[in-house]
């Protein structure tokens, strides 16, 4: 019995070029972040110093987060003293909700939910085989097409992955970072992985 594993990878990285003023960048924009960053401990921050090209990892103690505003404190507070042209990269730390593989034979279904712009894909929980353990979900957000094609195309893309690679293996359904997978051609604007 060959087994396919369906692979999903979300996006969560953004780069900024510092000019002057406050050492604060705004994250969580839909174009760069699938995972909502609510705690500074969810990200790593590096600064490439424009003056010498050095790469500097910023310690957690040198960061603060207020809603979507991430501030790099001064060097004297474990942060970094930014200069014009410095490049700041904020990247989500990988967790079970940023990337995962799920067994094809634990796939439960995909359906529209209460919104016209989201669809939910479910697998049996990877953390439990209990009688009612809940499900692991991947929620896709897209621009509504009034039901014309998107939901059907998502279903077809998932079906393609479920039945792909007859020898078994990893099949990417959607890798938002690398823009690959059986759903890559669809106008999906957000993907949230939730391992129960």
């Amino acid at each position: 019995m060959k087994t396919n594993f369906l692979h999903f990878k979300s996006i969560g990285s953004q780069t900024f070029t510092y000019a002057s003023g406050a050492q604060t960048v705004t994250i969580n924009g839909a174009d760069f972040w699938d995972v909502a960053i609510t705690n500074k401990n969810q990200v790593t921050v590096t600064v490439i110093d424009a003056t010498d090209g050095s790469s500097n990892a910023i310690a957690q103690a040198g960061l603060t987060l207020s809603t979507n505003d991430l501030t790099i404190l001064a060097a004297s507070s474990s942060g970094f003293d930014l200069g014009a042209g410095d490049i700041i990269t904020v990247t989500v730390i990988p967790t079970e909700n940023t990337e995962a593989i799920f067994r094809a034979d634990r796939f439960l279904g995909v359906e529209a939910n209460a919104s016209a712009t989201t669809a939910v894909l479910s697998f049996k929980s990877m953390k439990s085989r209990g009688s009612a353990p809940g499900d692991d979900t991947i929620t896709f957000t897209f621009v509504s097409d009034s039901g014309a094609a998107m939901m059907k195309n998502i279903s077809l893309g998932v079906l393609e992955a479920l039945n792909a690679d007859k020898n078994g293996g990893t099949v990417t359904v959607l890798d938002r970072l690398n823009k690959t997978g059986t759903l890559a051609g669809l106008a999906i604007t957000k993907m949230v992985i939730a391992v129960a």
């Binding site: 060959k2 087994t3 396919n4 594993f5 692979h7 990878k9 790593t44 730390i93 990988p94 967790t95 079970e96 909700n97 940023t98 990337e99 995962a100 593989i101 799920f102 067994r103 634990r106 697998f123 049996k124 929980s125 990877m126 953390k127 439990s128 085989r129 209990g130 009688s131 353990p133 692991d136 020898n167 078994g168 293996g169 990893t170 391992v195």
Partner: protein
């Protein structure tokens, strides 16, 4: 024919404590996901027959190497290379690692 995945991680010398070695049926592999930048958790149906939580084998690997681990474990589950029922994933005792980039493993069962 069912296939099985083998892991060992003795703390010192021969394995002589719980969770130093484990073998799981490939059908017990429930899924996998990153635990950090350098670790990936493999979730298995509990060895003690309970319902939850899952047993977890954590593989340590090169930073960002989660996809390589996913591909590697899928390959071993499907015995792509040798069609053998006994698939060694990470055998620290014998310094055998059959997924590229993996350097260590730990086993956590709930019983």
């Amino acid at each position: 024919m069912e296939r099985y995945l083998y892991f060992s991680n003795p703390n010192s010398g021969a394995p002589d404590e719980t969770q130093e070695t484990a073998m799981y049926a490939t059908s017990s592999l429930l899924g996998a996901a990153p635990a950090s930048a350098i670790t990936t958790s493999l979730h298995f149906a509990p060895r003690d027959g309970g319902a939850s939580p899952a047993d977890i084998v954590t593989l340590t690997h090169t930073s960002g190497g989660h996809k390589a681990v996913f591909d590697g474990i899928a390959s071993l589950v499907n015995a792509e290379k040798n069609n053998m029922p006994f698939q060694v994933v990470a055998d620290v005792e014998n310094s055998i690692f059959n997924i590229s980039g993996v350097t260590a493993c730990s086993i956590a069962s709930t019983d």
